[in-house]
């Protein structure tokens, strides 16, 4: 297998990942236009360092990491603090009826939007994108212990905001 074949092959695999990359970016940016900008930057960066990707590593993790770094750079260049958006309009969604699907979706996304950047990234990678802890920690460049504590806090916050289905409450 020569380098050109590998590169073409990797591009096709990245193409197949685009829906997930956009979803992850949208969870980070909470804005679909920003999300596509971040994904585009990530694609451009990835193409300049395709030779750094090792075939035994997960391509999705590698791409998520590039997306995450692109977003962090964007935040820095905008001069934002990482927890800026946390906690804004959480209240109005709490206790909302989950009887219909629309309401459910709205609530989940609204609840996610109230988490800080770090928790939202951890929850997105593990609970939505399905990455193992080890991979998610590498994407965010943090120790596994830090990842699991962000995950635990994110999960607790979401559980408090989202009524458990069928009233399953302890």
């Amino acid at each position: 297998m020569n380098t050109t074949d590998t590169s073409e092959n990797v591009r096709e695999q990245i193409a197949a990942l685009l829906p997930r990359l956009r979803r992850f970016a949208r969870n980070l940016t909470r804005n679909s236009h920003d999300a596509d900008d971040v994904v585009q930057i990530a694609i451009e960066r990835a193409l300049t360092k395709l030779d750094q990707w090792r075939p035994d590593a997960r391509l999705d993790s590698w791409m998520f990491k590039i997306v995450w770094n692109a977003w962090i750079d964007e935040l820095r260049s905008r001069g934002r603090q990482s927890q800026l958006f946390a906690g804004a309009e959480a209240g109005e969604y709490v206790g909302e009826s989950l009887m219909d699907r629309e309401a459910d979706l709205l609530s989940v996304q609204a609840a996610m939007a109230t988490l800080g950047e770090d928790q939202r990234a951890a929850v997105s990678l593990v609970l939505i994108e399905g990455l193992p802890y080890k991979e998610a920690a590498e994407v965010l460049e943090i120790p596994i212990g830090t990842l699991t504590s962000r995950l635990a806090r994110g999960r607790d916050a979401l559980q408090a905001m989202l009524a458990p289905p069928e009233g399953a409450k302890i």
């Binding site: 829906p19 459910d104 609970l127």
Partner: protein, 253 residues
């Protein structure tokens, strides 16, 4: 004895080794409150995945495909090769991708339909499966067994049997398995075991050892999937051990 929340969460996230999984499953069996907490973690995970599933079906803007097609500045020679490759195939990368994606997302549903279970019902009865991104994959004890167990070896924990292991046409390692009343075909891809086929077993006894004999109790759907995937002969014991040692990453070609 109460198991801490982070362990229960790690269990639901498929992060525990077989021994720890067994401990949690035993605790859940004996203690309804533990079982309920596991259900809550699982419910949150499902709720999040359901809420974000639709985003995967949105069409990707052309500008992203265009960015992906453009060549990095320092790898100029690639342009000619890419163009040639594309001309030979006579199709645009974006349409290829769309077709591949449609196939992927219909797969998880198709696999389960073969089982005769409703799309969401399987979660409750088969904790060893999950579909994090629309692809059905092994988790927990099944994932561990597929990675660690050699064919025909009796399992220490759950009644998992590995039938045979082989290299698929695309170079990935695949293994057939039977677990509880299911039989299936799992292939290693991107560091996880994707379930390509799953069906109810006709008989739970000695499914693995009688594989591919005339009276095989292995369901026809699985045999069909194996025939469709396999290139060459099944791995022998040495081949299996070697593949296991390199964690089932792509077979040498």
């Amino acid at each position: 004895m109460s198991i801490p929340d982070e362990i229960l969460a790690a269990y639901v996230d498929g992060e525990l080794d077989p021994a720890a999984c067994a401990k949690v499953e035993e605790a859940a069996h004996n203690d309804p409150r533990t079982a309920q907490r596991i259900d809550q973690y699982r419910a949150l995970r499902s709720q999040l995945q359901a809420a974000y599933a639709a985003e995967l079906e949105e069409s990707v803007p052309d500008r992203l495909f265009a960015a992906l097609r453009s060549s990095p500045p320092r790898a100029a020679p690639m342009v000619a090769d890419l163009a040639t490759a594309r001309a030979t195939k006579g199709r645009k990368p974006s349409s290829v991708t769309a077709a591949a994606l449609r196939w992927r997302y219909s797969l998880a549903a198709g696999v389960l339909i073969a089982l005769g279970v409703e799309f969401f019902a399987w979660r409750h009865t088969r904790p060893w499966l999950e579909a994090p991104d629309g692809t059905l994959v092994a988790r927990g004890s099944l994932a561990n067994g597929l990675s660690d167990q050699l064919s025909g070896e009796p399992a220490a924990g759950p009644p998992l049997r590995i039938g045979l292991s082989f290299v698929a046409k695309n170079g990935n390692y695949c293994r057939t398995f039977s677990l509880a009343n299911d039989a299936g075909l799992a292939c290693r891809r991107a560091g996880r075991w994707e379930i390509l086929a799953l069906a109810k077993q006709r008989s739970t006894e000695s499914a693995a050892s009688q594989f591919r004999t005339a009276s095989s109790p292995f369901p026809a759907e699985i045999l069909g999937a194996v025939e469709g995937q396999m290139s060459g002969e099944p791995l022998d014991r040495a081949g299996e051990s070697a593949a296991r040692d390199k964690r089932w990453n792509n077979a040498p070609r």
